[in-house]
Subunit: 460 residues, 2 copies
């Protein structure tokens, strides 16, 4: 089966009038959430260091560094904004594949939309098609591909960026086949980088590399016609299993973006059930840290595999520690960016409680579930089974939740009225005359009184 060609044909041929309204709305939710992530992290040292290293290589200032205002060429802007949007691990999640879909796609096409005229409806359509491409490719190789050690957001994301950018560039079917092939041969990103600055670069690389694939293909730069399915193509080289039907079946009838979810907490999604349950118990019983003797978590295996750090040393490492996350949930009743600062990870009270948290795999438990047994010092035992963590498909964040999250994220970067205006533009992205307007609207109109400090608190 010609998988790459079938996908290319769909991407270039789909009529945007056939996009259901619910899909458009979910795309706007995804876009708003992505924008909040990118703006919220724009002063983080990961972004600062990337800009310090790379800005001097920038071409003409086609596009905006979100939340900051420096202008970079569109490829470099895509890279930096893609990185910014993933720094806090607070972006969206396609739960079937653990892909964070918006980063690679939105970062690529928003930068492109500042370089060339792109109407909002075309932008939203390309965004949905890009997410569709990357998530279907992810579905076709998940979980074996991920289990091999690939960061699927990066490896599948490059296809999404190529598809979306290629659609905006008006590629022919053959050019789109080539673009997907050039994406395939750049597909990279190792899970080994989790917990380091290199991880958030992955969606940035995917965005830039996917855009580059589309730009080359637009000039009839050739690649394989079977970049995805050939014996030495993406699927067989980067995965031990491949289900091509996941890419080609019911194209245009189902939409992967409808399965997108948003994180209420600024850490790995597999920790969310534990945080959710601990915040519930804390609030219901008015718990203080000193009340808690021990906490035993029954979790899905991935929670230990991905977030099993017993003794994190930095805020970034704290995001990969279900022990730290559980401790701050009890102490602060929250798990936002503030709970993942370096100082808090080293705080004696947090460390003391963290060391009283244990976690073990509980057979049969799902990824968005947890069983919590909290032993109190007064002799009581509290139990909580979380059926669906907040933010999961079974208990999605509402539009109001998402906007509140957005406002919390951009606080300290944008003054409140501007944050509201930016949120409105994101909700309206599909109706704008000029999609690139949103990027420029993310630049602070004036200095904010209490700028958010660099999270890790190191030299700037």
């Amino acid at each position: 089966m010609e998988v790459t060609r079938a996908l290319a044909r769909f991407i270039v041929g789909h009529d945007r009038r056939e996009l259901p309204e619910s899909v458009r709305h979910e795309a706007a939710r995804s876009f708003l959430n992505w924008m909040g992530c990118a703006v919220g992290a724009c002063r983080h040292e990961t972004v600062e260091r990337a800009l310090a290293a790379l800005a001097e290589f920038s071409g003409p200032g086609h596009a905006t560094v979100l939340g900051r205002g420096e202008r970079l060429d569109a490829m470099l802007a895509a890279l930096v904004n893609g990185a910014s949007s993933h720094v806090f691990d607070f972006d969206d999640t396609h739960l079937k594949t653990v892909i964070h879909p918006s980063g690679p796609v939105a970062s690529a096409i928003l930068a492109l939309a500042e370089k060339m005229p792109v109407r909002g409806d075309a932008f939203l359509h390309a965004f949905v098609l890009g997410v569709e491409a990357e998530c279907r490719i992810g579905n076709a190789v998940y979980p074996e591909h991920y289990d091999t050690g690939w960061h699927i957001t990066a490896t599948a994301g490059v296809f999404g960026a190529a598809a979306a950018a290629g659609r905006l560039l008006g590629l022919s079917e053959q050019q789109m086949v080539w673009a997907l092939g050039i994406a395939a041969t750049q597909s990279s990103g190792l899970r080994e980088m989790f917990g380091t600055m290199a991880k958030p670069m992955h969606p940035g690389f995917a965005a830039r590399n996917g855009m580059l694939a589309a730009l080359l293909a637009a000039r009839d730069f050739t690649s394989s016609n079977r970049g995805i399915e050939a014996p030495r193509g993406f699927a067989h080289v980067l995965s031990t299993a491949f289900k091509p039907g996941e890419i080609t079946a019911r194209l245009g009838e189902t939409w992967e973006i409808s399965l997108n979810t948003y994180k209420p907490y600024a850490c790995g999604i597999v920790e969310h059930p534990a945080i959710d349950g601990c915040i519930q118990l804390r609030n219901e019983h008015g718990l203080k840290p000193a009340d808690v003797e021990s906490i035993a978590l029954g979790v899905h295996p991935l929670a230990l595999e991905l977030t099993g750090r017993k003794a994190p040393r930095t805020g970034l490492e704290g995001k990969f520690s279900v022990y730290h996350s559980t401790a701050v949930a009890v102490i602060h009743g929250a798990a936002g960016e503030a709970q993942y600062g370096d100082a808090l990870v080293r705080d004696p009270e947090v460390i003391a409680l963290r060391e009283r948290v244990s976690a073990a795999v509980e057979p049969g438990i799902h990824e968005d579930q947890v069983r919590i047994r909290m032993q109190l010092r007064d002799g009581r035992t509290l139990e909580r089974f979380v059926e669906h963590a907040v933010g999961s498909l079974g208990k999605p964040m509402s539009d109001a939740d998402l906007e509140a999250k957005f406002r919390g994220q951009v606080e300290g970067i944008l003054a409140r009225p501007q944050a509201g205006a930016l949120a409105r533009l994101c909700w309206d992205i599909g109706r704008l005359e000029d999609a690139g307007e949103v990027a420029r609207a993310s630049v602070p109109a004036r200095a904010v009184r209490n700028p958010r400090p660099t999270i890790a608190g190191e030299r700037r």
Copy 2:
């Protein structure tokens, strides 16, 4: 074992005075050969299309597009020059791994040497260290990694570029560890792209991505400390076997660049024994195509796997056809770029002879060997066993051969006196005050009277 750290420590700590003279000389040979390849292909449509797509994204004109003179930012120049140097498949080969070592490394650091002051001795040293890093990493995963479908020139090359650029940037040991990690997470490039324009982009991507890794690390941008050897690092994710000792044993005592070879023919190295033997028989017996009834080749399995195209349709595909290569060797007594033009691949005389060539795996035969049985129409049978093809380690090209190859490559781009001057600069690269001078010396001082046509002959 801390493989990544051991390699990083070696790269940042090695004293260039300990580089044997023979190693320096081999490095100059490699550099000259690489330069000839890059200049020779600089007007090829692959380069034209890449520039058409990407030049408008270029930052300040730090560095030269070799043989042409456009100036691009150093990262983009590294990408374009790396691609140019591989377009004709005429670059160097580390036979143990089939890595083409110079492309990723030289393309990165020559562009860097135009952006910052780099003395020739430091340049040559960094070049040798970069080649050492990529080839040792290649040795550690070859052949399993290659057999999986990875284009090892790209996947290992990114480490070489990071190592060499990082050495010139003066990275600390820890920064070099990070640079190798950022390289690891960008490692990509599929053999599926062979025979398309995407293939020569691979060393270009490796050069640019490796340089970017070093630039980020210089700003303390973190990555894994075990990017190569961790369970989810490069070696285990991209290969089914890993021999870490190949990276760490006898560092500074042996030099992989000493094992580098150069192609006398403009096609896949596994075809060279057949070409060499057929040219010998042709010249010894004064053969004309019409004299030949049939040619039967006994070859190494890779010759069929890599160059088994029975009916190539383009010059590029012709490079991957041992049948075409054998035919032109008999007809023209040569296998240079001229023998891989689109027109020649479609020439009836070439097709007629090509169809009389057969090839089969001969057990026990090595990659640089072939057994040729040529049946003539007059009833005679000619046999030739090629023990070592010209250009192999057993029968290396001399310095004079290399310079003749260089002059043939740059003919049509540079006038003869300038070609000579550029060759001298390449031989002297280790003694120049300013290594970047070589790049500028590759730009035609005046229009050449008979510019080489675009090989594929398509629209420009």
